[in-house]
Point group: C2
Chain length 270, copies 2
Amino acid sequence: MPGQELLLTTDLLTEGVDFRLADTMPEAIGFKAMGVNLSDIAAMAGEPVAALVGLVLPRSGAPDLAERLEVGLRQLAKQHQVPIIGGDTNVWDGGLVLAVTVLGLAMPPGPVRRSGAQVGDAICVTGPLGGSLLGRHLSPQPRLTEARSLHRTVTLHAMADISDGLAADLGHILQESGCGAELVASQIPIHPDAVRRAAQTGQTPLHHALHDGEDFELVFTVSPADAVLLASRGEAIIIGSCVEAGLWLRQGEVCAPLAAQGWEHHGTGN
Amino acid sequence: MPGQELLLTTDLLTEGVDFRLADTMPEAIGFKAMGVNLSDIAAMAGEPVAALVGLVLPRSGAPDLAERLEVGLRQLAKQHQVPIIGGDTNVWDGGLVLAVTVLGLAMPPGPVRRSGAQVGDAICVTGPLGGSLLGRHLSPQPRLTEARSLHRTVTLHAMADISDGLAADLGHILQESGCGAELVASQIPIHPDAVRRAAQTGQTPLHHALHDGEDFELVFTVSPADAVLLASRGEAIIIGSCVEAGLWLRQGEVCAPLAAQGWEHHGTGN
């Protein structure tokens, strides 16, 4: 496979941290475990090739739980034509852990990394953000097709999937690229769930769009010309640009520092 | 990489099942977690290329524990020149789980599987067996070099690593190959630990050699001529042959059925 680097990603989901077994359908937990891994492959604009599933099951009701988790795991894997080629299953007296590994192939001219953002780049996202906790966090739709289309159409400088929140994941890109960013508040696409969530929390919808995790949209940087091309095709929403240093939020005339803080996982925060 | 299939393996180690955190050095647990995965690659006569490490850590003392686990993980990985290229770490209120994934390359003419044993094959192992619980189970030495040497020298029909016990893992080969085996009791190499262990349990050393798990030697089948060649080079010990059906143990004139039973994991059995 000349020119095609291999991609390998693993993500753990643990009971009480990433989900509560008491109020989540096991099928949804399985779906999510596959989704977060496929989203990691999407963030590199790769193509998933195969998956392995590791399950550590609580002793009580283990066979039924395993079966229901697998329904969800297989549903999303099948949707993206990824065979589950193996894994390992343990039973113990503790809580539920899912350890999914996905092998992928980078698409020419190579994998997109977090480290390639440049001063002057436009910053884009693939869709509306915020409020995923109202349900979308359990049914992540990895942007695999979208990422590969972007990768074919333009030169992606840097990309990440939004798992910890826009500010946090963009922060990772900035840190690895050694530059800063200025986001334009009015350009950030706000998901209807962020509005609903804001009504519950007393925060603004914008706050939720900036800081909520598990949206699983992509955030990426490209040249301004490429950004305009993608926006005109409806494939990207331009939300700001890369600057020398810092992370800034512009609201009208005011430009204030924005904390690159992430979202707290369910079991411990929120 | 024409002619070179990819191999992917994942193995979970869970507290209370595979080890007791109270009486095991974390470095040894890390070493073992890497070892069982590399042993899976050895069983296919492959070459390990990269590893991912997933850790679910108990909240109390998590940073120190992670560091000590990594010492062991890295020690064995380095010994076999396998870079640890990534992973995921979670902290929770439960016990310790290690989820290691290893990517490997099959060596020409392809990976060795469990399903190729044929009636008339000689059955061989790479070293003495039994009593691993006295300590060897925590420092598995994956037979990677030995497996690739065998693969270059002869045609390996079927192979497995001995993780569940000789009888159990040979049983897996027989099941997938659709044949049986007759083992010759006097030919089975007994590890000194099996003798020491027998003094503790009241079982025979042979019983421990047949049924103890986690020896991490290889069991494989080849043509009788190839077996003799390997034995003459000191690379294999011939312990029996493949027959039409069943699993049998010959002791002198008596040939009796042998249960393909495995070994109970520490936390629950022994």
